[in-house]
């Protein structure tokens, strides 16, 4: 869209939406599913997360965010912490194929959901996802710290059908801050990868609907 037009989802709309959604399963899931969490005397919960196709079990503090579960307990440090409050996008992962901010989700609430992190994108033989390769080809990063989040967001952006034009890409990638300011090259990377990505059927049309 025209950048000069104030209409459309701004960074803050995107953030607001994602934050709101994150809160729903966080408070609702145990009650809704009737699956009471097993917790011991110290407040720790025995939980199982399905990450990159693998079931991973851990005893974690019930307050542990999905981001901290990945980083501090499952040695999946590709997802980054840049703010821990839903403002930067560095922690973006996919839950059931959609981009979410893992710092705003309690790990206990996404048991049984399909979690994909940056470590799960390349094929087993090491062949990179087209979006990963495009980020290298276009020099779509500098320090690389926001990059896992950018790449997961970028893949979702294409799958959502929000990568139709440069302006649309810019708008729908504005929830992922890059302080190194690689933005124009992130747009170029998404344009490179877009035609190479298989269209996944039934991908949702809207950002952040979990």
């Amino acid at each position: 869209m025209d950048r000069t037009q104030p209409e459309g989802p701004s960074r803050r709309h995107v953030i607001g939406a994602a934050a709101g959604i994150a809160a729903v399963p966080a408070v609702g899931s145990a009650a809704e599913t009737g699956r009471a969490a097993q917790s011991d005397a110290s407040g720790k919960v025995d939980m199982t997360l399905t990450v990159n196709g693998q079931a991973r079990r851990a005893m974690l503090d019930v307050r542990t965010s999905l981001l901290d579960a990945l980083r501090e307990h499952l040695d999946l440090t590709g997802s980054k912490k840049g703010c821990d409050q839903g403002q930067c996008g560095a922690c973006t992962v996919h839950v059931d194929g959609e981009r979410v901010l893992s710092c705003l989700i309690l790990a206990v609430s996404v048991q049984g959901r399909r979690i994909t992190t940056i470590e799960g994108l390349a094929e087993a033989g090491g062949r990179l996802h087209p979006m990963q390769q495009a980020f290298i080809d276009q020099d779509g990063f500098q320090c690389g710290y926001c990059t896992p989040g950018q790449i997961l967001s970028a893949i979702a952006c294409v799958n959502e059908g929000h990568a139709g034009s440069d302006d649309e890409i810019r708008e729908y990638m504005s929830g992922n801050l890059c302080r190194c300011a690689a933005y124009p090259k992130i747009v170029a990377a998404i344009k490179q990868a877009r035609p190479q990505m298989a269209v996944s059927p039934g991908t949702p049309a809207k950002v952040g609907q979990v």
Binding site: E72, L76, G82, E119, C143, G144, P148, L177, A181, I186
Partner: protein, 756 residues
């Protein structure tokens, strides 16, 4: 390829090369400091002061101790005397303290460190710490009651020449104006983290840093350890921009905590804490007076600055050292004042002196162009010079006008109607502005270890810093090309103080310092291989002049298109071929090497040399669009040209220039840390309220790399490029806003309310 006898190493560079660490960065494999796995860590959470001035009268710790998972808490009461205060970013001993005593210097100062079994438990316990304060009314910034103002203490005397005041008096055309720039925080996306692990007397610190050896040396001093026992590791840094250049107060306490607990301790400071436990760019005020003849030649230059700092530190950036050197002028006077307030100590932030001070100068130059009724590009041209106006030394090279001319042509500047408000596009007022960019060309002493195997694999090790500049790739490119190998055949190891030291990755010295030492190491390898070949009966080069031999295309080659396979030539040197190179740039004293190993900031600075003054130059052209009714200001497009000597890797250089330019747009239109004047507290201390550009804010940006050959700046002709992009851009935007609207905005950032 044929044998190439050229001795000009610059031919090795300039081929676009993708980052060798790219795969690690796009797969999550790159380990940033807080990603390093440590066994069974305890977690630290900081408690920071809720008042800006006074004392801690006491703590109420019962609630915290009762929190599940609580282990320990450090305060001045139990550990106060056990750590020496870290110096300020300039290396001076006077700095704000943390747990050393009950003294509170600024809001958000670290006053306690809570340790617990998990991150969640530590955060919970920290929030239960009760603090009793003996608070006093703080001074927040300029104009606050209680601030102390004093002239700064410059390392070299402030630039002064002729009679600036008298010449200004008599000048036929004058501009006199005051400008201001706001407080800014670096806000790298990576948080300030520290993990400390002890192994007997040996301490390992995993912490994002721009100075592996500086952090090592600094912490050894603070903790009274032998530097040999301190190791720092930071293989990748998640953005730095100056914020990770000097040790901060947090690290020593985490090390001490790990010692007390006999267990690794991990700290991940929160985003808001990052605003007060590290440094920032202080707000400035400036006065500029320019006097000129009617044909635009400057006759008088005066630039004075005021900068905020903490109570104890005299830290200042004194950008007049740069601005006084921009244009030919016979009469020059400069001054800088520091204003002590109840704030944390500021520090280096991307182009620390040039970002604020070039705003003053380049805005004033635009005002002068209007006063003269002269094109702003032509005003730069009539005042261009190849001689440093302050010292009278030649510039090592200066391609300012080629930058202006190439960028102007690309931008379409000749179509500009100079009258403010004359250009319109529907409901948008359109304005075009330009400004000079510049950054001094610095280089430091550095060391590196290089090995070459008979199978043609090279490995180079140095304690370099990958903060996003492409440092791994820069070194790989140098070694590959100097040894006649492919980039894939070179392994680069960096980010560990167990490796040979290089300077702080600051002052844009990294590329110059590391490529020059890497090239020197390659020369040593070549000398060994060539020396062995000319002595060997079985070599085609037996008895030849070793200086004529080159490592090219995976071969040892010589005149007459003779060559020998690398495996034979290298094996002959006695198996494993390894060299240790040290490069001390010309003009630095021999003690520079010692400083390097002590982690001191030793540098040959572009303005401090005896032979030449060394700067990179550039020119920005910006289109601003201001809506006639909403007064929303939008950047339409940007063209920036830079001439910075040898470009080592155009791929990463382009990214550095481009992101610098975006930082400049941000400095003009977005960024400012808001300060509560009563509480002396940062208000917008998070990433939603501290306005940074998002993808949708960034317009098309075109970067032109103007070829430049510099024979004097350093042997490889490399000038730094990481910071120049931001300089002058804030003024180019303000100048374009003036052209669009007729409103001269002298206080940054420019926002809707200034354009009503």
């Amino acid at each position: 390829m044929a044998y190439d006898a050229s001795d000009d190493p610059r031919q090795l560079f300039g081929r676009p090369t993708p980052r060798i660490d790219g795969v690690a960065k796009v797969t999550g494999a790159a380990r940033y400091a807080s990603d390093e796995p440590v066994a069974n860590p305890a977690y630290a959470y900081l408690v920071t002061s809720a008042v800006a001035r006074g004392r801690v009268a006491g703590f109420d710790l019962d609630q915290a101790r009762a929190a599940p998972g609580f282990i320990d808490v450090l305060t001045h009461e139990n550990v106060g005397g056990q750590v020496k205060t870290n110096p300020d970013p300039a290396g001076k001993p006077d700095n704000t303290t943390t747990l050393e005593s009950d003294k509170i210097w600024h809001d958000g100062q670290i006053i306690a460190v809570v340790l617990a079994e998990s991150f969640e438990a530590a955060r919970d316990a920290a929030h239960r710490v009760g603090v009793r304060y003996a608070a006093e009314a703080p001074s927040a910034s300029f104009d606050s009651p209680g601030v102390q103002v004093e002239a700064h203490k410059p390392q070299t005397p402030d630039a002064k020449k002729g009679d600036a005041a008298g010449a200004f008096e008599g000048a036929p055309v004058k501009v006199e104006a005051r400008y201001s720039t706001p407080t800014q925080h670096h806000n790298p996306i990576e948080l300030f983290t520290t993990t400390c692990v002890w192994d007997g007397p040996k301490l390992t610190i995993y912490e994002p840093t721009q100075s592996m050896w500086g952090l090592k040396g600094g912490l050894a001093k603070q903790l009274s350890l032998d530097p040999k026992d301190v190791r720092t590791v930071s293989r990748f840094v998640g953005g730095a921009f100056g914020s990770k250049g000097s040790p901060t107060g947090r690290t020593a306490w985490i090390a001490l905590a790990a010692k007390r607990l006999n267990r690794p301790v991990k700290l991940i400071a929160s985003r808001d804490q990052g605003f007060t436990i590290a440094t920032y760019r202080a707000e400035t005020r400036q006065q500029v007076k320019l006097g000129a003849t009617r044909d635009g030649k400057l006759v008088s230059f005066f630039h004075e600055g005021w900068e905020v700092t903490s109570r104890p530190s005299g830290y200042n950036v004194a950008g007049v050292e740069t601005t006084a050197r921009m244009y030919a002028c016979p009469n020059i006077a400069t001054a800088v004042n520091v204003v002590h307030a109840d704030r944390n100590t500021p520090g280096f932030m991307r182009a620390p002196p040039e970002t604020p001070y070039m705003f003053g100068l380049e805005s004033a130059m635009d005002e002068l162009a209007y006063a003269l009724n002269m094109d702003p590009v032509e005003l730069r041209r009539v005042n261009d010079t190849q001689t440093d106006p302050v010292d009278g030394r030649p510039f090592s090279s200066r391609s300012l006008m080629p930058c202006f001319d190439q960028a102007a042509a690309r931008f379409g500047w000749s179509r500009r109607d100079p009258k403010p408000g004359a250009m319109r596009d529907g409901d948008w007022q359109v304005g075009w502005g330009c400004a000079t960019a510049c950054y001094p060309s610095n280089i430091g002493p550095a060391a590196a270890r290089l090995s070459l195997t008979p199978s043609g694999k090279a490995a180079i090790q140095l304690a370099g810093h990958e903060i996003g500049t492409g440092a791994y790739t820069t070194v790989a490119v140098t070694v590959a090309h100097a040894l006649g190998l492919k980039v894939e055949d070179v392994t680069v190891t960096m980010g560990d103080s167990d490796l040979p030291p290089v300077p702080v990755a600051g002052g844009s010295n990294n590329a110059a310092s590391t490529t020059n030492v890497a090239y020197k190491a390659c020369q040593m390898v070549r000398d060994r291989v060539a020396g062995a070949a000319v002595k060997a009966q079985d070599s085609p080069f037996h008895g030849a002049d070793p200086a004529a031999l080159r490592l090219q295309d995976g071969l040892l080659r010589g005149p007459g298109n003779l060559s020998e396979p690398l495996d034979k030539a290298v094996a002959r040197t006695g198996g494993r071929l390894e060299v240790y190179a040290e490069n001390i740039p010309a003009g630095l004293p021999p003690s520079a090497a010692q400083g390097l190993y002590e982690g001191k900031m030793v540098m040959s600075r572009g303005t401090g040399r005896k032979d030449v003054t060394a700067f990179a130059f550039g020119a920005h052209f910006v289109e601003m669009r201001v809506h006639v009714r909403t007064r929303e200001a939008r950047v339409g497009r940007v063209v920036s040209a830079f001439a910075a000597g040898t470009i080592v890797n155009p791929t990463t250089a382009h990214s550095q220039f481009m992101s610098g330019a975006i930082w400049g747009l941000s400095a003009a239109l977005h960024e400012a840390t808001e300060i509560d004047a009563d509480a002396a507290r940062y208000v917008n201390d998070n990433l939603a309220d501290y306005l940074l550009p998002v993808n949708a804010d960034v317009p098309p940006i075109e970067i032109i790399m103007v070829p430049e050959k510099d024979d004097r700046v350093n042997p490889l002709g490399v000038k730094g490029i990481g910071e120049i992009g931001i300089t002058g851009m804030n003024a180019a935007v303000a100048n374009a806003v003036f052209h669009a609207t007729g409103k001269r905005i002298r206080d940054l950032p420019i926002r809707v309310e200034h354009l009503l």
